[in-house]
Amino acid sequence: MIESQDRVEQFQREIADMKLRNPATSRDRIWLGIGIALLIAGVVLAVIAYPMSHSTTNPLQQNDAITLALAGIVSAVVGAALFLRYSIASFLRFWLARLIYEQKAQTDRLLEAAGGDHKPPS
C-alpha cells in the first residue's frame, strides 16, 4: 500500500509538472492552410520568374528573377513540408488503425475457417 501511495504521489507530481498546450484542433487546419498557400505561392513565383528572366538581357534583372525563383522553391518546399505534416500524418495514423483492424478481422476469419476449435467459449 505504501508503494501504491508513492505511485499516486508520483502521478500527481508528474501531472503537476506536465507541459500543456492549448487544446487547438483548429491550429492544425491553419497550418495546413498555410502549407497549401506556400506551396501554391512557390509555384506562382517560379512561373513569374521564368518570363521575367527571359524578357531582359540585363543581368541585374535576371539576378532578381533567379532570386525570385529560388524564393519560390523555398516557399514550395516549406509549404509541402507543412502540408505533409498536417495532412498526411493524420491520414497515416488512420491508416495504421485501419491496418490493425484489418489484421484482427483477418485473424477472426482464419479462426472461423478453421472451425472455431481453437477459440474456447467465453
Binding site: 500500500m1 508520483q10 508528474e14 503537476a16 489484421q103 485473424t107 477472426d108 467459449p121 467465453s122
Partner: protein, 253 residues
C-alpha cells in the same frame, strides 16, 4: 437533469459520504463533447476519488465511452474541464497522460491479434520496465497467460484477451485505470472472474473508473456508481442506492 456530482457530496454530502474534498484523482466538470458537430455529452460531472472504484453505467449510446475518451485525452471536449490530480489537463496528449500513470483499457481490448502474448507484453516495456518485470507482473496477476505466452493473441478466448489487455495496462503501474466495457462478449463466469481481479487491483490503491453496460457484477466491486442516459449523468450514489434505478434508466421509463 444533469446531476452535478462528486462522491464528496457536492450537492448532498449527507447522502453520499466519501473521502474529503480535494482527494479526487479524476474529475470531470460540465463536460460537453461532440463528433463532427453532433453533441453527445451535455454537461457531464463525474469524480473518481483517490483509491476508489467508480462505475459509469448506462444503456448503449449513452455517451459512456466518449466520457472515457475525454478523460483519457483521446477526445477534446468542446466545453468543461478535465481535472487530474487537481490540475486542469484539457489538451494534454493521451500519450503523456499514459506515461504519467493513466491507463485506458479500451472497448474491444486493443491488443495486437497477430502478435503473441509475449510480444503484446513486450509492447509495454516503453514504460521503462524490462520484459522480465512486465511478464512476472502479468503472469502473477493472470496465471493463465503464462501457459499462453507463445500463442497469438487473436487466438485467445475472449476472457483471456481481456486479461491480456488488462495485464498490458497494469504493467505500466497505473495510478488511474480506465476500463471500457470489460464484460463485452464474455460469459458471466468470466466477467465475475475479471471483476474479482479488478477488486484486487483496487485494494492495491489504484483508482478505477469502469464503464459498463451490464451493471450487476460491477456494482459488487464499485464504491460509487453513476447512471448515464442520453449524454447526461442521470443518477449518482452508492451502488446499493442505484440498483433500483437501473431498470428505469435502461428501459427509459
Amino acid at each position: 437533469m444533469t446531476a452535478h456530482w462528486s462522491p464528496v457530496g457536492a450537492k448532498a454530502p449527507s447522502e453520499t459520504p466519501g473521502p474529503p474534498a480535494g482527494q479526487n484523482l479524476l474529475e470531470l466538470r460540465d463536460i460537453r463533447a461532440a463528433y463532427d458537430g453532433i453533441d453527445v455529452l451535455y454537461g457531464v460531472d463525474l469524480a473518481v476519488p483517490r483509491g476508489s472504484v467508480v462505475a459509469l453505467l448506462g444503456p448503449n449510446g449513452a455517451g459512456k465511452t466518449t466520457t472515457l475518451r475525454v478523460a483519457s485525452g483521446l477526445h477534446t471536449p468542446s466545453g468543461g474541464d478535465v481535472l487530474v490530480a487537481g490540475r486542469r489537463i484539457n489538451g494534454a496528449r493521451p500519450e503523456e497522460l499514459a506515461r504519467s500513470g493513466m491507463c485506458l483499457v479500451p472497448e474491444g481490448r486493443g491488443i495486437f491479434p497477430n502478435l503473441s502474448v509475449r510480444e503484446n507484453l513486450r509492447m509495454m516495456t516503453y514504460s521503462g520496465r524490462s520484459l522480465h518485470e512486465v511478464e512476472e507482473f502479468a503472469f502473477q496477476r493472470f496465471p493463465r497467460l503464462r501457459d499462453r505466452r507463445s500463442q497469438l493473441a487473436g487466438t485467445l478466448s475472449g476472457g483471456e484477451q481481456q486479461m491480456l489487455a488488462m495485464a498490458r495496462g497494469l504493467a505500466t503501474k497505473p495510478a488511474l485505470l480506465l476500463l471500457d466495457e470489460l464484460s463485452m462478449g464474455l460469459a458471466p463466469i468470466i466477467v465475475e472472474e475479471l471483476y474479482g481481479i479488478v477488486a484486487q487491483i483496487a485494494q492495491d490503491g489504484v483508482s478505477i473508473l469502469v464503464v459498463e453496460q451490464f451493471a450487476r457484477t460491477v456494482l459488487g466491486v464499485a464504491d460509487y456508481a453513476a447512471i448515464m442516459v442520453h449524454g447526461r449523468i442521470a443518477k449518482v450514489g452508492r451502488p446499493n442506492e442505484l440498483e433500483a434505478e437501473l431498470s428505469t434508466a435502461y428501459l427509459g421509463a
